[in-house]
């Protein structure tokens, strides 16, 4: 098991390295002069050169890549200068002559627009996205498994057909249309009954009462975000449940004289949920991507919201940082899921 985890982690870090290189070259290949973007109005040559030097833009591509990776590495070697100290905010581990071996938080450079450190921007906005994704997933998994179970157990009845049809619509409706409709219907037309806002934040800073938690603001975006996973989980649970219910060991359980509900809950569900778990975890990452539109439409401050804002203003260190960060989450989640999967299914433990 430990070997499996180690192997999976080694493999995951390779993927992250690959992603890093892909993202780096992707943004290099983009047209547009980053120096001009950063410099803005100040177009004198010395400013431009200073910026170019700071970002290593005057060096060749491979060197730039190495510099970028050095920036990201949590342990690195630098010349011990006050500038570097200020730039990276590191703590020294050991002295190596002129250089120092340091530990630091990965340096994702600074925003063109606000000159804030990108990692700070990400952390600031991460909370909103995590809450949103978490609540949406909770809602989608809970309700989806329930719906899927109902559909499977009532196969070929009205309930089955209705739930399957609903899930087909849920899968195919584009998320921005769903988001707009839900925000307008519940946040505008029915606002008097629901008491919900069309847009809103988790934390609202009120001039009088200060920072306030507004939990009700998460309802609509989370619901919207959950629709598609909900529909998919419904269908997956249904088909997986139907498959498991036709297995020989379910017949064995019947032959033991077990109650139907014991069979469903104890014998079938545990087997049927494994494919659902994998799918759900696969969806977590896409959920963050889906969260982008939902965040924009509901004006929900999160990673997606800040990324789209940065795309619009061509603030590319932020976009790059956010992309890398999301990829990192994706890879980490996949590793965790693989391990969870191995833990729930005894057959997998031996095979790898």
């Amino acid at each position: 098991m430990l070997k499996f985890i180690l192997k999976r982690m080694a493999y995951g870090s390779l993927v992250i390295l690959g992603v890093l290189i892909v993202v780096f070259f992707l943004f290099q290949a983009l047209p547009g002069d980053p120096v001009a973007m950063m410099a803005g109005q100040r177009t004198d040559v010395s400013t431009r050169e200073a910026i170019a030097k700071d970002f290593g833009l005057d060096k060749s591509l491979p060197v730039q890549l190495v510099l970028y990776m050095k920036d990201l590495s949590p342990i690195a070697i630098y010349e011990d200068t006050p500038e570097n100290q200020a730039k990276y905010d590191y703590s020294v581990l050991t002295n190596l002559g002129d250089n120092v071996l340091v530990a630091k938080t990965p340096y994702l450079r600074r925003s063109f627009q606000t000159n804030k450190r990108v990692d700070e921007i990400i952390i600031e906005n991460l909370e909103g996205t995590l809450w949103l994704a978490f609540v949406a997933m909770l809602f989608a998994t809970g309700v989806g498994i329930l719906f899927g179970l109902i559909a499977a157990l009532k196969q070929n009845t009205f309930w089955d057909h209705a739930l399957v049809s609903l899930s087909v619509i849920g899968i195919s409706a584009p998320s921005f249309v769903a988001a707009i409709i839900i925000s307008i219907v519940f946040g505008y037309y029915l606002a008097d009954y629901t008491g919900l806002n069309m847009t809103g934040q988790l934390w609202v800073t009120d001039p009088i009462y200060g920072r306030e938690l507004h939990l009700e603001n998460i309802i609509l975006p989370a619901f919207t975000l959950g629709i598609r996973p909900l529909a998919i989980i419904t269908q997956l649970t249904r088909s997986s449940m139907l498959d498991v219910l036709s297995q020989d060991y379910i017949r064995t359980a019947h032959a033991k004289g077990l109650n139907f509900y014991v069979i469903v809950v104890k014998h079938a569900l545990k087997n049927a949920l494994n494919p659902v778990i994998t799918a759900v975890s696969g969806w977590l990452a896409s959920l963050m991507a889906g969260a982008f539109f939902v965040e924009v439409i509901f004006n929900w401050k999160g990673l997606g919201w800040v990324t789209i804002k940065s795309v619009e203003t061509k603030d590319f260190p932020v976009v790059m940082g956010a992309t890398l960060f999301v990829a990192l989450i994706f890879v980490v989640v996949n590793i965790i899921v693989d391990i969870l999967y191995a833990a729930t299914d005894p057959r997998i433990r031996l095979s790898d």
């Binding site: 992250i16 993202v23 992707l26 409709i181 069309m198 795309v311 976009v319």
Partner: protein, 365 residues
């Protein structure tokens, strides 16, 4: 004794209601795409009618026979909703079909190779690998790297024809190929290495899909000039992972079936088996991948034009229409009509794909 239970889908298909409706709707869309210019529409989709902004649909009291009339209302610039919906079909299909064609061609090829050949089936001799690697480096150096620098320094016109670089590149590569064949015959190094082609492609896919595709497209679309052509390329080059993964999984399944092995035992060549036996039996998943991909791309087109990213502003689109509701929440028709058009197209595509999969099974003929 095994008795097959009736699948709930089959009865619906026997009545054929769903696929019939879907075919009807899709042919309507097709008609709009081809004949949009010939339709007697009262307004062009880009025509601004600033006197009638946010006009609700079917305001029959304003209707005067013979005069142009906004049947389905207007948006914030007075553009006609009906005309935009009809021309919006065109934009949606114009993006999704070519992009999906690129994506599925790439996906089929790479996924097919990965799934069918696996990690061990493709073997190359060391001589081949070595000479090819060497010539690739050489070709790149003389074809692209050197010209760039030499032209820069000699200050000759840097905008030399780009095909010259490609010409040098390809000619060096072909020479390398010929040399490696020749070397292979002469030296006869018995060492063969197997190319882990499956692993290579899968790693590629995993890396590409670790970066959420939407961000990738958003970034690329935001940085390139808004144009349909660019967007088709971008989406085509990023959407191939899904079909590739599906085809690979499907081929891995098909490959274990006995008739593939018996085809090999009959002495049929691998590539022939792939084309004649393996792919046709993966056809249903290929169809599903392509139709769902197309549906996804249609949604993407609307999403991008909704966000006003990557597509020219003057292109009529369903998403663009929906976007104008954000300035006036009571204009429900701006969401309803394009929303219906969008959802029906997507649903019809899925219904048709289900029907095709059903029909392709020889048992249902």
């Amino acid at each position: 004794m095994k008795v097959k239970t009736a699948k709930n889908t089959s009865s619906a298909f026997k009545k054929k209601r769903a696929p019939k409706a879907a075919f009807f709707f899709l042919s309507l869309v097709g008609f709009c795409i081809v004949f949009a210019d010939l339709l007697p529409l009262p307004f062009s989709p880009t025509a601004l009618d600033l006197q009638h902004i946010y006009l609700p649909p079917l305001q029959t009291q304003d209707y005067i026979a013979g005069k142009p009339f906004h049947w389905l209302g207007t948006d914030h610039l007075g553009r006609d909703v009906l005309a935009n919906i009809i021309y919006g079909c065109r934009t949606a299909i114009l993006l999704s079909l070519p992009a999906m064609a690129i994506a599925s061609a790439l996906g089929l090829l790479l996924g097919g190779i990965a799934g069918f050949y696996g990690n061990k089936a493709i073997r190359l001799s060391i001589t081949h690998v070595f000479t090819l690697l060497l010539t690739f480096v050489l070709a790149y150096y003389y074809g692209f790297y050197l010209p760039e620098y030499s032209f820069k320094e000699s200050a000759v016109d840097a905008t030399q024809p780009f095909y010259l670089k490609w010409l040098i590149f390809i000619s060096i590569l072909t020479t390398g190929l010929v040399v490696s064949k020749w070397l292979h015959k002469r030296i006869l190094l018995p060492l063969n290495v197997s190319i882990p082609i499956d692993q290579l492609i899968m790693k590629c896919i995993e890396m590409l899909s670790s970066v959420p595709r939407i961000i990738l497209i958003l970034c690329l679309a935001a940085y390139t000039r808004p144009s349909l052509y660019n967007l088709i390329l971008i989406t085509g080059l990023t959407y191939w992972t899904e079909p590739a993964r599906l085809i690979r999984a499907e081929l891995l399944r098909v490959k274990t079936l006995n008739y593939i092995e018996s085809a090999r035992a009959m002495g049929l060549a691998d590539f022939y088996i792939l084309i004649r036996h393996a792919l046709p039996n993966s056809l249903s998943s290929i169809i599903v991948a392509i139709t769902f991909g197309t549906a996804g791309l249609i949604s993407l087109e609307s999403t991008l034009s909704f966000l006003n990213i990557g597509l020219p502003v003057d292109l009529p689109s369903w998403g663009r229409m929906v976007a104008s509701i954000r300035n006036n929440f009571s204009a429900w028709w701006l969401v309803l009509f394009p929303g219906i058009a969008l959802c029906s197209t997507v649903l019809s595509l899925q219904a048709v794909s289900n029907w095709l999969v059903y029909k392709l099974n020889p048992r249902n003929r």
